[in-house]
Symmetry: C2
Subunit: 356 residues, 2 copies
């Protein structure tokens, strides 16, 4: 996919979700939170836990390419994306049902490797595969994961709830997966053409690790007022949290956490980017641009009560998970602001970056 | 799809489900019943209800064709198939998450009509649409439904549990949907080329009505030892129930319930089938063959305690739902037997019929 297609796709998805809310209703009997959050919350009478449910559809050509990723990696990632949605609610993933549309020409190897990747991810995150549906799909392989989770009754952390004055935090680092995607595109997935750092970044794209422990700790802390996972990049995802919470935000670009691998990759690429690599890479590589515009890092964005933020940072840090303060929540009337590395405030670049 | 492809597909699905059990495990933490039943059963501590979950993937070209079915009908049917799985466990459907892969050339009309069909089915069966995922799929539209349901703790009715001596029952009628599919194929979905009876049968295929009330009554009665929905036809589905229950069965072909519409259609078609219709229809139309080999009727197959079967028949009948005794459960060593209309016992035709 070109970046333009990706952009159109995302804009259209937000529009479709809005339309879906109108057509299908935002919530209903027993559903405390419906369409528009990372996962839905289902409350049952006489039950101490709420059930979370989320679904992700991956289509060959749109979400994965078999020349870049192995079926094992595709299997892992398809479940990981849903695990991240449960994590983003502060929940614990429990059981998944998996639908697979198989192209006959791919044969048994595809299905078995895909299942192995799904199983590995399920074991890593304590998910039971409860069932599924396997069908023929002649033209494109498809995988759908529907995943349930649990959270203490009424304690799911939503996208709404952030208040002006709250501290804005992200776990782990941003932009690795986006860099990995560019590297896969530039090398056609050929590992021989990748440096060790490039392979690390490609692996972050192909085998992401959702932040279940951080999400559970955040929910248990009582400090977090709103939370979501960064699946489409900070540039597109922060406006979604802000919209649901009816707030604005200020983010300092230089505070967005970037991995040493991403920094090293950008440093190495940029001197030569307009030279012999010009045709290979379509974008210059600035870490903070990738960190803003990149998707699929599956780390968590949180708004936290300012009085409790230090305790939260210590708690998450004690689990060995990096957590970084990147800005603050402000009133909605102040909008969304990005302080760029030159110290200037800019209105928010909703669809990612060009060069400024 | 030709009948041969359909057959290969079904055989391959059973093989894939067996392989999936090996690769993914039959059940796990909190999952009382996993892969291989109509829906999985998830038990949570300190909760009076068990959660059921099922998923169905529909792919354009494999499961639906837009020249035969409207997006509204496809939407209805995609949810109805999952509702039927919950009904087959004796459960009440609650919340669904819906994934849709949209071909850009179909535009808004496709998505909106699809949603309307989904919503109509959701309202009919008391389902809340809790969320979803809408993505691009260039080559084939896809719809995945994952549906949860509830059932009293430990009271889900499984495919296993039938015992020799149990009475074998089916609700409603068999074969209507299969006849409808043939009619759609023969007329290319053109209603002008259909008689009123043909239109009725096509509607049974396009807008099926799952048997939730019958399933709830069956579970509440305590009379039913095993149950499943007929989604692939009696010929293929009864062996699945028998295998899970480790039993055999005897079915009398003349007792399989057939609708007056199906009988009328077959009566009208057969005199001319080897004449000018020969190229139009590839099969002769005997009601009982369609009733055995046809899929997607979404009625229920039940095994019932012989001492309680009469009470069950009265109970279901009092709801206005036809229910018919078609045979008995026998020991596994006696295998599966079909008594054909000529009174002769035959070994079971697992993949549907040729002419005998």
């Amino acid at each position: 996919l070109s970046r333009k297609d990706e952009k159109l796709k995302k804009m259209s998805e937000d529009a479709l979700i809005e339309r879906m809310k109108v057509l299908l209703g935002e919530s209903g009997r027993g559903v405390a939170v419906g369409i528009g959050d990372d996962a839905a919350v289902i409350s049952q009478p006489r039950c101490e836990l709420d059930t979370l449910i989320t679904t992700d559809l991956l289509v060959e050509g749109t979400h994965f390419r078999l020349d870049w990723a192995s079926p094992y990696q595709i299997g892992w990632k398809s479940l990981a994306a849903s695990v991240s949605d449960i994590a983003a609610m502060g929940g614990r993933p429990t059981a998944a049902v998996i639908s697979i549309g198989v192209r006959p020409r791919y044969g048994d190897y595809f299905v078995e490797s895909l299942y192995e990747g799904i199983r590995a991810c399920a074991e890593r995150y304590g998910v039971t595969i409860a069932g599924g549906d396997t069908v023929l799909s002649e033209k494109a392989a498809v995988i759908n994961v529907a995943l349930t989770g649990t959270v203490a009754r009424g304690r799911a952390v939503l996208r709404k709830g952030a208040r002006p004055g709250d501290v804005l935090l992200v776990t782990s680092t941003c932009g690795d997966s986006a860099a990995g995607l560019h590297i896969l595109g530039a090398t056609d997935g050929n590992r021989k053409n990748m440096t060790p750092v490039m392979r690390d970044l490609a692996a972050r794209h192909l085998k992401p690790e959702p932040s279940v422990e951080a999400g559970l700790a955040a929910a248990a802390s009582g400090a977090v007022t709103a939370m979501m996972d960064l699946s489409d990049g900070l540039a597109r995802d922060l406006p979604r949290l802000a919209k649901r919470s009816v707030v604005g935000a200020v983010v300092r670009a230089t505070d967005i956490p970037v991995s040493p691998e991403l920094a090293a990759f950008c440093e190495r690429m940029n001197p030569i980017e307009y030279d012999e690599k010009k045709e290979l890479f379509e974008l210059p590589y600035y870490p903070f641009e990738l960190a803003m515009s990149g998707g699929e890092d599956y780390n968590l964005l949180m708004a936290a009560d300012p009085d409790k933020a230090d305790g939260l940072i210590s708690l998450i840090g004690s689990l060995g998970i990096p957590i970084t303060r990147i800005g603050e929540i402000v009133p909605q009337s102040d909008g969304l602001t990005l302080i760029t590395p030159d110290g200037e405030p800019h209105s928010w670049p909703e669809t990612g970056f060009s060069h400024f």
